[in-house]
Symmetry: C2
């Protein structure tokens, strides 16, 4: 493909034998330029297929009408649903959303932040990578003077807006349910403690066991990246214990799926021998056999509130606004993988 | 949150009591500015947390080092895998990828193109929305003088690079397989003919039936949007026929999943009574019961080639390059939903 050179204001100026400055003024409907010249400029611009340089106008106005979103990955139902509702909320107000993904890499997340700042976005909505512990990069966004809104995976320390679910209490919902089903030895395939949401799920798990007077067995608490492969590996590890668990609570649905595959392969009855609970309510949890009990994280609501929070800030840029910390109650969706007692 | 005003060159100029032009020159290491002034400018810039305006530098260099990707949706394994490999290929050469989604809407796709052109991306890689029939908007990209690369859902008429699989032949692979399994009345829940890939799948289905001397029954050929809900609805419609099909080939895995749900709910044996084949090899096809036979579209390879094609163009911007039309052979992944004869 022969790439044509972009038409510039100078090209238009050359055709009409006037100055580039005059062309620019004409295109911006400047009163100092005659209507005749304006018409000629517009005609030539059209003929040459001139694309007005919006970067230049963003430079002038200081508003790009763009909001950047950074997510760990897009092929997760939670993140793609959240993005969908962020887009819907911002679209109404004329904002466009551009998405970047970190692929769970801190380095990539930093690069994404640089890219979005470079593009002069009017705000950034971010859910952090698993790897992210250093928050200095996110401080760059605050320093740039634009709203920074975090969701799901965020950090309270950062002192920015945050929207998420109550992870600590979600673990209580899960453990309460498993205890009700008669489980006594509940394992937790968790995320890494360094990520706040996983830390909260672990704390909730530990405290809920305590509440039910169940002993905390260190063998049964495992930190991992929560991929399908991790779920498989950790399930095999748990099955290798002298004293096997009678329930497994995985902090992510993909890990729960890996565990389910191993249990099915080994003909271990779910939930009779081992009950299983995931987290995230990915659509596949309802499709597999047995269907997997999971936690609905309200992705749609979170996306909607994230968009509204950005709009609030952008409408009152100079007023001192209170930060929003919105914690939604999660919902346990009970399915076959944990339902021993059918009522 | 109190939003701080962005630091501008003018702010720095005010502190030092010099002109904004001098500050700009100092920041660009202009020889006309003394080293002493340069040092002072850099010091103040740092103190005020000045973010250099990259838009301005993009304006000067004409290169943004950004590539825009437009996909119908990100929560599809095919698209997210393709994006992943596009990113990997471009990352090596220092390009950043920004993603926008059309949500299958033509209007949104046009808006995305405008946004990406506005951001001065160095190229656009697009897979079109279901709704898209008017290609004038894509012509804008060509007119802007940057490479336009289409994948999966593209149009040969557009005379741009295209990377996809052989959809026509994929239908042959599917029909051949079903005939081998003893199926004689094969239905097709297809996409809309106006989208080239779905048109090719339909043409392939029709021609493959002919090849096997199977009659084409109009009742068995249905066009739809291929969502789970569409799959459910159309499967019910097919079950309502006097003369039911003994096999269903859905042009998308989500529609195949909807069909599978209905068949399972009605206790119709898969594949014994009705065999089922999907398209796209979404991960859930291997997870459901029975697992669904599907077509692997080589998302990774397509993403990789799309990135390479862009890089080729960007390295030789002014040479007349031949267009790439790369059609990969798809792979039929046979699973339980269609395997009547276990060998």
């Amino acid at each position: 493909m022969a790439i044509k050179k972009k038409t510039t204001i100078k090209d238009i100026a050359n055709v009409l034998n006037i100055s580039a400055a005059a062309v620019s003024k004409a295109l911006h409907n400047d009163a100092r330029i005659s209507d005749k010249t304006k018409k000629a400029v517009r005609q030539v611009a059209e003929n040459l297929n001139y694309q007005p340089n919006h970067l230049a106008s963003a430079l002038r106005s200081g508003k790009s009408k763009l909001v950047g979103v950074i997510v760990p990955k897009t092929n997760s139902n939670f993140f793609s649903s959240a993005i969908h509702n962020i887009e819907e909320g911002l679209d109404k107000e004329g904002y466009n959303v551009i998405i970047t993904q970190s692929n769970e890499s801190f380095k990539k997340e930093c690069k994404n932040i640089d890219t979005l700042l470079y593009l002069q976005v009017d705000g950034i909505i971010v859910s952090m990578a698993n790897e992210t512990v250093d928050l200095e990069y996110l401080e760059k966004v605050k320093a740039a003077g634009i709203p920074l809104i975090t969701f799901d995976r965020g950090e309270n320390d950062l002192n920015v807006d945050y929207i998420g679910i109550d992870d600590y209490n979600s673990s209580h919902l899960i453990v309460n349910h498993l205890v009700e089903q008669g489980c006594k030895r509940i394992a937790h395939i968790g995320g890494y403690k360094r990520t706040r949401i996983y830390n909260n799920r672990i704390r909730g798990y530990v405290d809920a066991l305590k509440k039910h007077n169940l002993p905390l067995d260190e063998e049964l608490l495992i930190e991992t990246n929560l991929t399908i492969e991790d779920g498989r590996e950790k399930m095999l590890q748990l099955l290798g214990l002298k004293n096997r668990p009678d329930a497994v609570y995985a902090a992510g649905d993909f890990a729960a799926l890996g565990a389910l595959q191993v249990l099915n392969e080994q003909n271990i009855k779910i939930p009779e021998e081992i009950a299983l609970v995931g987290f995230g309510d990915e659509p596949f949890t309802a499709m597999v056999t047995p269907s997997i009990t999971s936690v609905n994280q309200h992705a749609y609501k979170i996306g909607k509130i994230a968009a509204e929070t950005f709009l609030d800030h952008s409408k009152k840029p100079n007023s001192k606004q209170s930060l929003n910390k919105i914690i939604l109650e999660a919902e346990l969706v009970i399915r076959d993988s944990s339902l021993k007692k059918k009522s």
